[in-house]
């Protein structure tokens, strides 16, 4: 049995959640609404994050283009995602929404541009 203490971020109230994991069963306490229960369970069983960063651009009006993972990636893959982002240089022009890395770091998420750099 594992017990996790965390702060719910679904709204500004910031309920202090206690999440108890016992085999298949996940119990969330301290929440004031169903969104808190959902958040607590997901944070403990499958935490994910959107990664945002920037990628170098060759020959553009700006030296960098900002990027994000199109969907959340597992939290423990953040630094693996960053490594691929760091290794990349793209050529201008880049448009918002352009896919710059497919299935980054073995996840099913793409890294896409969030800015247009001509």
């Amino acid at each position: 049995m594992e017990i996790h203490e965390l702060t719910c971020i679904r709204c500004p109230i910031g309920c202090q959640l206690t999440v108890t994991v016992d085999g298949e069963s996940v119990k969330v306490e301290g929440n004031n609404c169903p969104r808190g229960a959902e958040y607590g369970a997901k944070e403990v069983t499958n935490p994910t994050r959107t990664v945002t960063s920037s990628v170098r651009v060759r020959g553009g009006e700006l030296p960098l283009v900002s990027v994000k993972t199109a969907t959340d990636v597992p939290k423990d893959r953040i630094f693996a995602v960053m490594e691929e982002i760091h290794a990349l240089t793209v050529d201008a022009p880049v448009h918002t929404g352009d896919v710059l890395i497919h299935s980054v770091a073995g996840t099913d998420s793409d890294v896409v541009a969030t800015k247009t750099v001509m």
């Binding site: 702060t7 971020i9 945002t52 960063s53 920037s54 994000k68 953040i78 800015k115």
Partner: protein
Amino acid sequence: MDRHDLIIIGGGPAGLAAAISARENGIEDILILERDVRLGGILNQCIHNGFGLHTFKEELTGPEYAERYAKRVIEAGIPYKLNTICADISPDREVTYVNAEEGCVTVKAGAVILAMGCRERPRGALGLPGFRQAGVYTAGTAQRLMNIEGYMVGREVVILGSGDIGLIMARRMTLEGAKVKVVAELMPYSGGLKRNIVQCLDDFGIPLRLSHTVTRVHGKERVEGVTISEVGPDRRPIPGTEEFYSCDTLLLSCGLLPENELSKSAGVRLSRVTGGAEVNESLETSVPGVFSCGNVLHVHDLVDYVSEEASRAGKNAAAFIKAGGVRERGRAIALKGEGGVRYTVPQFIDRANMEDKLTVRFRVGDVYKGKSLAVYYDGKEVRRVKKRVMAPGEMEELVIMKSSLPENTEEIIIRVED
């Protein structure tokens, strides 16, 4: 002298939303003056996500949010000038701007919308003792150097202030390979959003020390470390609590100040609390035909509210212009925050000009749990809203219904009560 119906100072989120709204409300002749190389303002360097949940019902990064508005401005064919600094606004709405192409130009405006945003409180204003070494940056300057120019400002970092930009930069620097050792916060609570504390600090094991401040910055040429001390309830450092953190960089995230130098040149009266203009229900300042919105009016927590407020400013400026630059002004009802409510925007309501529903925004001065917001018209309680939690870092809002507001009201007060 050239003339434009509407001149908007600033092409960030506030200026763009104001321009779009003014155009939708029938104003053709608009000019936006933007000092940076592209539209979008500070959002261009806020490459993290979390913008637009209210406006677009999806989570966008800063540049994406900015681009959506910039696109609409461009598609609507609203003229704008980049790399252009507004040098002066006169009380009769003569706007002087400077750029490399045209030099120094003065144009007359039918109405002006102030949308210049805010700046960060620098080290000097905080009075941090120590040498004047390299390596002390405001969080926003560091953010620009990293996210726009692509440089690392430091490798070992301490952050003073837990405002959102500071928290965001803690994560950003960590992702780029820096070691963020601690975030110190003078107040007993964080000024940032909960979600940022979890996703920017907790995710990476970065400690947040509440009721702590930097009492010495070490290093002659470059930061070599900082001393952090605990502060008492009076926010003064407690002797004997000093702790040394070795680092090469100190980032400051200690508050934002509306940038109202131009407003002052126009003769606009400013609020001592917000640092922004005092405005009426139409977001019009003390100078007729000069409107204010966004972070230059008061510092917002979410850009969605900036856009919404700026749309209203655009609409009201349009009404002013269409009315030929003269609007009947009725008696002003004073709107005030008291007992925990630090200020309100607007500060005045002219009932005759108000819409059916008026959104009043404000911030509270402390963390309140399980308290209520009470609204009084001339001392008579008219509304009471129970709030689970209120914090200085997050803006509150209440709606005032025109139908419920008696015509002869003198004063509206909003208070935090049990």
